[in-house]
Symmetry: C2
Subunit: 200 residues, 2 copies
């Protein structure tokens, strides 16, 4: 896991791992039949790593907030592994405990199956995307010209050039998570109160 997440995205190799362990390359194939199978094992490790926050206390939206935050944390800590899972051709069993949590949370909150599914896709995509974007050196920086303010075609970016990296920091993730969860709460509310406004 350390080797995969440390180096450049594509740099991990069986030979490198074998060297690290002080064995011949082929020794690895006594424990794992494939590079892919090795990835499966490491993925299971990473997914089990965060607490599954078993709290039944708290409102549904607080529980979902927690679950999405955790998913984001895992993807953030293991960006290369995340990319590998995305590229997989078969579903990875380890993912579905977390998805079940979020989905059944939405169902008990009162969403229809269809709406709950949509929300599941939205929340997991957001967690995944923010983690990958935040882990990308390419996305966190501005290109030279804009950073120097030498490009008047980019007035908006010039204005915030000094703080640009903050757009992918934790505070921004929380901001978006709030937008989504509050939107979901409002959506739930609309079904009982079409005005969309708290009447107290």
């Amino acid at each position: 896991m350390r080797l995969i997440d440390a180096g450049e995205p594509g740099s991990f190799s069986m030979r490198q791992l074998a060297d690290e362990l002080g064995v011949g390359v082929m020794t690895l194939y006594g424990y794992v039949s494939n590079k892919e199978e090795l990835y499966e094992g490491v993925t299971a490790l990473a997914l089990g790593e965060a607490s599954f926050a078993p709290i039944n206390s708290g409102s549904w939206d607080e529980q979902i907030r927690l679950a999405v935050r955790e998913l984001h944390g895992i993807c953030r800590r293991h960006p290369n592994l995340t990319t590998i899972v995305l590229a997989d051709t078969k579903p990875n069993p380890g993912l579905y405990l977390r998805r079940e949590r979020i989905l059944s949370g939405l169902r008990t909150a009162g969403f229809t199956p269809t709406k709950a599914l949509h929300a599941l896709g939205v929340l997991t995509s957001y967690a995944l995307g923010f983690a990958l974007a935040g882990g990308s050196q390419a996305l966190r920086q501005l290109p030279e010209g804009i950073r120097d303010g030498r490009r008047p075609e980019f007035p908006g970016l010039n204005e915030v050039a000094d703080h640009y990296a903050s757009h992918l920091e934790p505070a921004a993730f929380e901001f978006g998570l709030d937008l989504l969860i509050q939107g979901l709460r409002a959506d739930l509310h609309d079904r009982h109160d079409p005005s969309g406004c708290e009447t107290q």
Copy 2:
């Protein structure tokens, strides 16, 4: 671009491209000094491909909706390329026209620079994440056991097993985009009307 996006994520090679073009591998290095430089060129192509919807008509939120939708479309059509850009070490100049659009849209709508930056991170991460998730075979499917309903530990997923793939379809993307944009509109409103409620 076709070769990169068609095959498996890591399968593109200079040798494969040379074969496709009917030349020797080394011929390519007369036109491009690196595999990385080739990726840069292809990325520029992909980013220029969608219309930059130059409409100044429409409200700020409709303009941003359009821009985010377009970004999502590009990432969705070029998943492997998207992954490559994420892994880059230097910022890719082609990205910043779109980001400028979204950011200055948010600024003229009335958001503070900090809030606009956060919203930029949220919206671009969402578009990116949804596209990558939707393009992933691994994420669109349920594992065998859950699909068959043979796993009572997953009641929520069992219930929706038949329509599971719909959680990453366009309708779900639009649902999440609505949540985000409506949330942003409400956020803007709160500064003038702390009750958070339309008073007409």
